[in-house]
Structure formats: C-alpha cells, structure tokens
C-alpha cells in the first residue's frame, strides 16, 4: 500500500471486533502484543486462527481452522470471491478509496486465460513484461473509471473473474478447511466489518517466507480493503516482525537494494549513472513520492557533507551501483563459488538459522577473512570447528568481536508499528565488549587513516564521508561514538547553520539540508529534543510515547477512518476526521494527510505531487491516492493480482492451474542445493516456526530459557507416529534431498492429518530456534531447506516444504567435500542477474 511498515499500532488491536490471525503464531511469537488480542476478546471480539498447527494461539482463539501450509492464497482468494459474489464488501469504502472502479487495459490477460500465467510472460527470460498490467487511459492520459462497477474490465470485475474458481469447495480440497468452517469465518469477517465494526488481520513470517510470500500479504490486503478495514481503528494488517530493530533495519535499509528511507539503490541494470537519470527512473510524478529529490539530496549531504555540491551531483557517483541481485542467498552461492573474500556477520547466525545452513558454513570456508560481532560463540563464528569439518584445511582468518548487549549501550530501535524508542545505557559493557556503533565508527576512522594519502577517485567516498561522532559526554574515552549525534544526523539539519530540521516537509533538494533518513526526520527536531526518548504513555494512541514515522502517526492512511466527506464512518469507530470549523483534520492520531486539505478538494488533472490527489484519496504514497486492489505495471514482478501456486516442494498438484509453482520464483539447481523433486520420496509436508521460549543464539545460552525448551523437537500426529514407529520423546530423523537432521519426537493430536482432494496429507513441524551450541541445542531445520526465493523481495521459502521421516538418529556429519563439483554454468560469479525494482 505504499509504505514499508505495519499499518496499525499494536495496542489498537484491542479495538477490533474480530481478529483474523493467519500465518502467525501470535500468542507464541509475540505474547505481550497478544494481550491486546485478549483484551479485544474480553470485549467480545471473535478471534480466528488459521494455521497448519494447533498452537498456543489456537488454544485461545474462538475458531481454529487447520490449513495445509502454503495454500493461504486459496483461502484468502476465496474470501475475496465470497465477498464480491455475496456483495458483502464495504461498498462506499471500496468505491471511494480503492482502485476497484479503474478499468484495466484490454490486452491484460488473466491466469484463467493462460492457465496460471498473466499476460506478458516471456519464457526465455523467465519474467513478465508488465506493460499490459495497467489501466486504460483516456485521451488526456487520465485513468478510465466506472463507479457503477459494471464495466467488465473494471478492477472489481477482474477480481471477480480471477477468483471465481476460488470456491469454498476449492478451499476444502486444497487447504483442508471444511466448507462449513470457511463460510462461518467469511460470515464473521463480513459481519464484523463496515461502518460500525472493524476486523484486524495479523500475520508474520508464516506468510512471508514463501515462494509467493509478497502475494500472500497482498491477498490479505485485498480482503481487508474490500472489508474497508484499512486506516481505521481496530482494523489494518498487523505485520508482526520478529526482531527488535527489524523495522529499523528495513527503514535504514541495511538491505542491498535500498538506501535509507526506502530510496532505491542506484542500479546499472537501469540507466542511473547520474542523479538526474536516477530520479527519472525512480521518482513518481504524483503523490508524496514526488518529493523524492529532496530526500535523496539531503541523504547525500548527510553522507558526504561539504564534498556534496550541486556541481558534482551531490556525490551521487560515490554510491556503488547494483548489477543484479546481491541479496543474501545469491551472495551465499557466490561465496561458495569462491567469489567473496571478506564477510561481516553482525548479530546474526546464518550458520544455524540460515536455510541450507551447511551450504552457508561450507561457503564460509572459501572466505579469506571473516568478522563476527556477537555476544556468544555461535555456529557461524565457529563454522571452521563444526561437526564434520577439518580446521586444518580451512584457511579463513576469523575474528570474534565481543558485542555489548542492549543494556550496555544507548540508541534507538524501531518496533513493528514503526515506532522509534530510545534506550538508555544501564551499565558498562562487560570485559572488552564494545557496541556495534563503536566497531563501525572505529573501522571507518581506521579506513580513513589508511586511505589518507590516496588521490585515487575510488577512495573519495571514504575520505569524504562525514565521520565526526565523538561523544562529548565521554571525555575520558576519546573515540567513543555518540548515538545521539548519529540520530541527529539521521533526523537531519540545515547545512548552513547545523540546526536540526523539524519535519521532512522542510527538506530541500538544493543541498541546504542534510538528512540521513528522511522518514525519520522529526525524531530529533531541535538540538535537545529526542522524541524517541518521549516517555509519556496513555490509554489511547500514546502520542507522547516514542515517536513513530511518519510524523508520529500511529495508524497509517488514517484518512480512511473518515468517509469521503471527512465524517467518521460511525461514532463507534471515530478516529480521524475533518473539523469543518477549524478547517483541518483532527482526531486521536496524527492525521496521515495534508492537515488542511479539505475532503472536497478536487484532484487537479495533470498536476504533480499531492495536488494530483483529491481530498478524498487517503493513500497518499500511491500515485493515484487509492489503495491498489489491482497493482499496476512495474510494482510487483510476479502478479498484479495474487494467484495460488503450490510451494516449490509440495505433495499436491496445483488444483487451479497447470502452472504448478510461481513461475518467477528463483531456484538454484546445484549439487549443493538439491530440491525434493520426487514427491513420492518425500511425502510429508514440513513447516517450520519459532517457539515462545526461544529465539536463537540470544536465548540458547540462557539457562532460564534453555530449561523451558531444552532440545530440538519435531511435532507430528499420532497416526503418522504409529505408522513410522516413532515414539514420543525419542529421537527421529527428518530428511530431504539436501540432508537430514534429528530431533526428539513430540507426538501430539494437535498435529492432524488433512484430507486434501481425497488424499491424506500429514504435516510435521519443527521449530527454527536450535543450533548445535548453547545450553538448549539440537539440529536446525536449516539443514533441510534448499534455497529458493520469492521474486519480489528475495525472501526464502521455508514455511512449506516436504520431507520424509524415520525413527532413530542421524549419521554423524562427514567432512564436507568443498570441492564438490558445481558445474561452471551453475556458478555464481556476480550478483545474480535477476531484475530488481523499487518496492
């Protein structure tokens, strides 16, 4: 919907009348946030949980429906179909706030026409030409719309046709959810949406870690938009993210294809050699993103300070350019093939929690040097000493730098509702531990010194980058960096005076302002105010607690909580509305809309920026200001409307299309990354998840947690256990074409076989928390999962797989043959040449 964050504020879940939890084991993964679900339940809300396993979340839900892992789009698509066919969608919301009325181009062809493919498929390149995935335009270039929804090619009717075969019966035969359960859930969702009531959706990695992960989330957005639940209290889609600062790491983007603030990395796959070319290929003319040049220039000023001038394109050329997909999975293959020499791993443990963990570990053997920053020895740091490895053959020079823990440093983390929270330092780091900030700062200083005498153009970025973060409050320890100073730079300042910038609206594209991360502008609005350190909460939206981007908004697109005329949809669901007398938007949250733009403001045809939107278009980040039921060309690579594909490894054929799997999903067919190609040998569905008591290496060494779940286990149903002679509490082996792992069997009726198209399908589940080090230990399912990934965001598929099982223990790991022949054509020499695009 245009922004990279959860649309809602976690405590707002308490205001929901119904909560659908799917693709998330909410109670187990986020127990504290689940208290708001419980509060909603106590107020009468219906809690629905849809999951492959009966979990602690299911135990507290009113309705539990077991689903075959990886079939969520069938279920959600059937909901879309049911809502449209039964006219149970929120008509006014859909017609005003979504692109349901837009007419799709004549040459667009849907999956029903092409048996699983959309128009524009190019088999040779394995990708889509998305030109036809767009709207019909009139002579003036304006999109043709039909507010009556009668045009056969208007988006609503395209959806209706696209999902016509996603019937309750299809759900029963594909997902394993009985027809009666499905219609019961659909009725409840419809009954708890509309003017008076709202339904919230919550998901987590159970949806995203699939070959069609982005489409899973998209499909839930379709349902929520049809129900009119986006931008409203007790509504929205709550993305439950797994790590403390994972939102921050996305916003700031230590991700290969993004610069901080969701600005795309310049790419040599397009023509973006100059700032002008870069802006031409990325800037949208209408909507908020029209401001992009201001953010890019301010960021370059923040990076390179005085060196960045209008004359030299603000040092735009200092930024490296992409030549393909440089994400973790392709990089791992490149490493294995000897094309990566140095590797930093900071607070992450791909050697245990990575997919195809043995590939990761063996790839690291090809490194010249390796730096690990962590607080505990882990499977990655000591990959050279793992079971089956021979250190005397491994040339990698390894460093372990001890990391300060969160209590030992100050700084900011961004939680799942996009809220920045500053934490103070409670005590000095133990031993010689240092903060990650110190390590990066120190490395930067040392590199500057090493390159000090260079006149090579390539070294200018290092020499010109502004790098003055000495902490004035730590005079005794010269060189201690100040997180506050960094946050001030992230916020931004006026380059001439050094004064803090108060809002991203004040950023300029002429070099007069610098701002490291434009979306965070406002968190440090003046020299002394750190709004991430605000600590006054209340029972409502707590605007005095922390600071949420953008501009401290709790619920995104909250303009949609009012009707097109700016009135609350209902008294009960009052949130943000137009105050006629004051002539401004007001409410309990910061309006996510130009403050004084009246609801009746007309859109100006042909205008740029926000003027192109009317006063009733709530989705300000999108070009048309309307939520996208149909995603037009260029935004997603694999589908404008979500379609169901089976997981890469599935025991079942796709019941909807001849096209079995996502045609664009990335696969690596190599000897060190073998897939289960014969379903016959791997008849069981395997799903992975995390448990409440464990995280990863951060918990396995803590005895209090280790005793709660001390060993890797595998959950399976009693029928399967009997069939395979596996006894509860004893070891069993789980195998795939890639390898095997062992775990203690946990036989439970909570796991249940499903009947899919008359076939009995058993699912097993393995927690993804373990590794071979720590007090709590065991094999990780990462040993079983061959790498493959979603085409849009390069996320791996690890939630629905296939496997075989047997009683007993696995064989000891042998010395890996790192010379194992990978044919030349399979080797990865550079970033994978998979087209990348703006998210």
């Amino acid at each position: 919907m245009g922004r990279g964050g959860a649309t809602a504020w976690v405590p707002d879940l308490a205001n929901a009348d119904c909560i659908l939890i799917q693709g998330s084991n909410f109670a187990e993964a986020h127990p504290v946030a689940f208290r708001f679900v419980m509060q909603a339940k106590e107020r009468g809300a219906t809690i629905i949980h849809i999951d492959p396993r009966f979990t602690r979340t299911s135990a507290l839900a009113d309705i539990f429906a077991p689903i075959r892992s990886g079939t969520d789009i069938v279920f959600l698509g059937a909901l879309v179909s049911w809502l449209i066919e039964n006219k149970r969608y929120f008509h006014e919301y859909v017609s005003a706030y979504t692109n349901a009325s837009f007419v799709v181009r004549q040459d667009f062809q849907d999956t029903d026409d092409l048996d699983g493919l959309f128009s524009g498929w190019d088999a040779a390149s394995g990708s889509y030409d998305t030109t036809s995935w767009d709207f019909e335009r009139d002579a003036q270039g304006q999109i043709v719309t039909d507010e009556t929804f009668e045009h056969p090619r208007c988006v609503l009717n395209v959806l209706r046709r696209h999902y016509a075969r996603y019937t309750p019966e299809m759900v029963e035969n594909t997902c394993g959810i009985p027809v009666a359960t499905f219609t019961h859930i659909a009725e409840i969702l419809a009954a708890n949406s509309g003017r008076e009531r709202t339904t919230a959706f919550a998901y987590a990695v159970g949806w995203t870690q699939h070959s069609s992960g982005v489409q899973f989330v998209r499909c839930s957005a379709l349902v929520q938009l049809l129900l009119g639940n986006i931008g409203r209290p007790g509504g929205g889609i709550m993305a439950l993210r797994g790590h403390a600062d994972i939102q921050g790491a996305t916003d700031i983007a230590t991700l290969y294809d993004l610069l901080p603030g969701y600005l795309p990395m310049p790419s040599a796959l397009r023509t973006e050699s100059t700032l002008a070319e870069y802006l031409a290929s990325n800037q949208k003319k209408t909507g908020w993103w029209a401001n992009m040049p201001k953010y890019v220039v301010s960021q370059l000023k923040a990076f390179y300070g005085k060196a960045a001038t209008p004359e030299n394109d603000f040092c735009f050329s200092y930024l490296p350019q992409l030549i393909g997909d440089h994400s973790m999975l392709p990089t791992t293959f490149a490493m294995k093939d000897g094309n990566v020499r140095g590797y930093f791993v900071i607070g992450q443990n791909p050697g245990a929690s990575g997919q195809n963990a043995e590939l990761v570990r063996s790839a690291m053997e090809r490194l010249e040097w390796f730096v690990n920053i962590d607080s505990f020895e882990n499977e990655t740091s000591s990959f050279w000493n793992r079971e089956g490895a021979d250190p005397s053959t491994i040339a990698t020079e390894c460093f372990f730098l001890p990391a300060a823990t969160v209590l030992e440093k100050e700084g900011t983390m961004t939680q799942t509702s996009r809220m920045l929270q500053w934490h103070d330092k409670a005590l000095e780091p133990a031993g010689t531990s240092k903060t990650d900030l110190w390590y990066f700062y120190e490395l930067g200083k040392r590199l500057k010194a090493l390159y000090a005498d260079s006149s090579d153009e390539k070294d200018r970025p290092i020499l010109d980058m502004t790098w003055e973060y000495d902490d004035p409050d730590e005079p005794g320890e010269p060189g201690e960096p100040s997180a506050r100073k960094v946050l001030q730079e992230i916020n931004g300042y006026v380059t001439a005076t050094g004064e803090q910038v108060a809002s991203f609206a004040d950023l300029k594209d002429d070099g007069s302002t610098a701002s490291g991360v434009w979306i965070y502008t406002g968190v440090f609005p003046d020299a002394t105010t750190n709004r991430a350190r605000s600590r006054v909460g209340d029972d409502s939206t707590s605007l005095g607690w922390g600071w949420a981007w953008p501009a401290n908004r709790r619920t995104l697109y909250n303009r949609a909580s009012a009707d097109p005329l700016g009135r609350p949809w209902s008294e009960r669901k009052k949130y943000v509305w137009w105050d006629e007398t004051k002539g401004e938007w007001t409410g309990v949250d910061v309006p996510d809309f130009p403050k004084t733009k009246a609801p009746d403001t007309p859109a100006i045809a042909g205008a740029s920026g926000m003027d192109a939107h009317s006063g009733a278009d709530p989705f300000i980040m999108l070009a048309q200001g309307r939520a996208q039921l149909f995603v037009p060309a260029g935004e997603l690579k694999d589908a404008p409307i979500p379609a169901h594909y089976e997981p890469l490894q599935s025991p079942i054929h796709n019941a909807l299309y001849a096209q079995e799997v996502n045609p664009m999903m990335r696969q690596w067919r190599r000897p060190d990354n073998r897939y289960n190609d014969s379903p016959h040998d791997y008849p069981y569905v395997l799903t992975t998840y995390r448990i409440t008591e464990m995280s990863g290496i951060m918990t396995r060494y803590i005895p209090w947690l280790a005793e709660l779940q001390p060993e890797a286990f595998c959950e399976l149903d009693p029928e399967l256990a009997v069939e395979k002679g596996i006894r509860n509490g004893e070891y069993m082996v789980i195998s795939t074409a890639l390898g095997e792992m062992e775990a203690k069997a946990l036989v439970s009726g909570r796991m249940r076989p499903l009947r899919i198209n008359g076939k009995r399908v058993h699912q097993i589940g393995i927690p993804y928390n373990y590794g071979r080090m720590g007090f709590a230990r065991g094999d990780s399912p990462g040993e079983l999962i061959a790498l493959s990934m979603d085409p849009n965001v390069s996320i791996h598929e690890s939630k629905s797989l296939t496997c075989n099982i047997r009683a007993g223990r696995r064989a000891p790991l042998a010395t890996p043959d790192i010379e194992m022949a990978v044919p030349a054509q399979m080797r990865t020499t550079i970033g994978e040449s998979v087209a990348h695009g703006a998210q």
Binding site: V10, A244, T250, Y318, A334, F344, C398
Partner: protein, 190 residues
C-alpha cells in the same frame, strides 16, 4: 486491569502474631534478623529505561544497577503503553543475556588452519580488519561494468542489522556504501 497497589505494613508480623499463635502452637512465627530487614534488592538502585532486544513488539524495560554498576534486575516498564510492565519469557530473561558465564567478552582470533580461538588485543584486531578490508577492496574494486560506472566491490559482504539499533544500521550502511560494498543484507529479508 487497574494497577494494583499494595498497602505496605512495615511493622513486621505484629498484626498477625496473636492469631497465628492460636493456630500453630507456641512461638511459631519467629522472624529472623534477615527477615525483619528484608527489602527487595532494587531498593534505592539506579533505574535505567531500556528496550527489549528480542522481537519487534518493542517492550520497554527498566534495568536496575547498584552503586558499583552491577546489574541487579531487569523488568518491564509499567509506563509503556505497549507492554505496561509485562514481558514475555524471553524479555524476562534479558538479564541473563548480559550476565552470563557463557558470554564471550574478549576479542578472539582464529588464524588460518588453526584449531582454536585465541585472545587478541582489540586494537590489533581492528587494525588487522581495516587492512584486510583495504586490501580486498583495492584488489577487487570494479569501476565500470557493461560500460556503466558501478564503483563497487563484490568481494566483501555484510550480514546483520535486525538486532542492533538504527544509529548502528545507519553507520554500517554509510560505511559499507562508501567502501563500495553492495551485498549488504540483514534479517529483515529473513
């Protein structure tokens, strides 16, 4: 639920003495000196507001330290609108991440082909790492690709970010981009 406040009765045991005497027998309720002076160990300790480092719900915590800087206790911050003082099991164990015999708090180095980690001074390690970065970068820097300026090195990669702060992410990104590293990734993908 409304916050429960407790009426603290400081006169140890006096009120209940007689009734208990009836129930249990003679001299049953003899408090030791330790008991009489028992107070929670965070009485008067320094309280510092922090954030839970595990999942992304963002629970606020309070860490208590004594006058020597020793960590005494970590618990939920009741002021937070997100967690209102509550914590999950992992959050309740934050203390054990900082205070932990198994934690590694010194710089360690493993030489090529070596079978063990050995301790090294911090400054030595930083110097060595910086020079390795420089050598690798200088030897693998690519200025052009298919006729286009790319200014990058693909021989260095970085993974991490979801567990540390935005300032740290920012500095890491700024440094890596300036070095020319393009394979910068973190758990947000995962």
């Amino acid at each position: 639920m409304a916050k429960t406040t407790i009426d603290v009765t400081q006169g140890i045991l006096r009120d209940v003495q007689s009734e208990i005497g009836k129930r249990v027998g003679m001299l049953p309720n003899l408090a030791s000196e330790r008991t009489k002076t028992l107070r929670g160990r965070i009485n008067g300790a320094k309280a510092t507001v922090s954030v839970c480092p595990y999942c992304a719900v963002g629970c606020s915590t309070v860490a208590y330290t004594d006058s020597t800087g020793m960590l005494l206790d970590v618990e939920g911050n009741p002021e937070s609108p997100i967690n209102a003082g509550h914590l999950c099991p992992k959050g309740s164990a934050i203390f054990g991440m900082t205070v932990n015999d198994a934690r590694w708090t010194t710089v360690k180095y493993r030489a090529p082909f070596s079978h063990r980690w050995e301790e090294r001074p911090l400054s030595w390690a930083m110097e060595r790492i910086a020079s390795l970065i420089k050598t690798t970068r200088d030897e693998t820097f690519v200025r052009e690709w298919n006729g286009k300026r790319v200014n990058h090195t693909r021989a260095i990669a970085s993974l991490g970010g979801a567990t540390f702060g935005i300032e740290e992410n920012y500095l890491l990104g700024k440094l890596m981009h300036s070095i020319g590293v393009v394979s910068i990734e973190n758990q947000a993908r995962i």
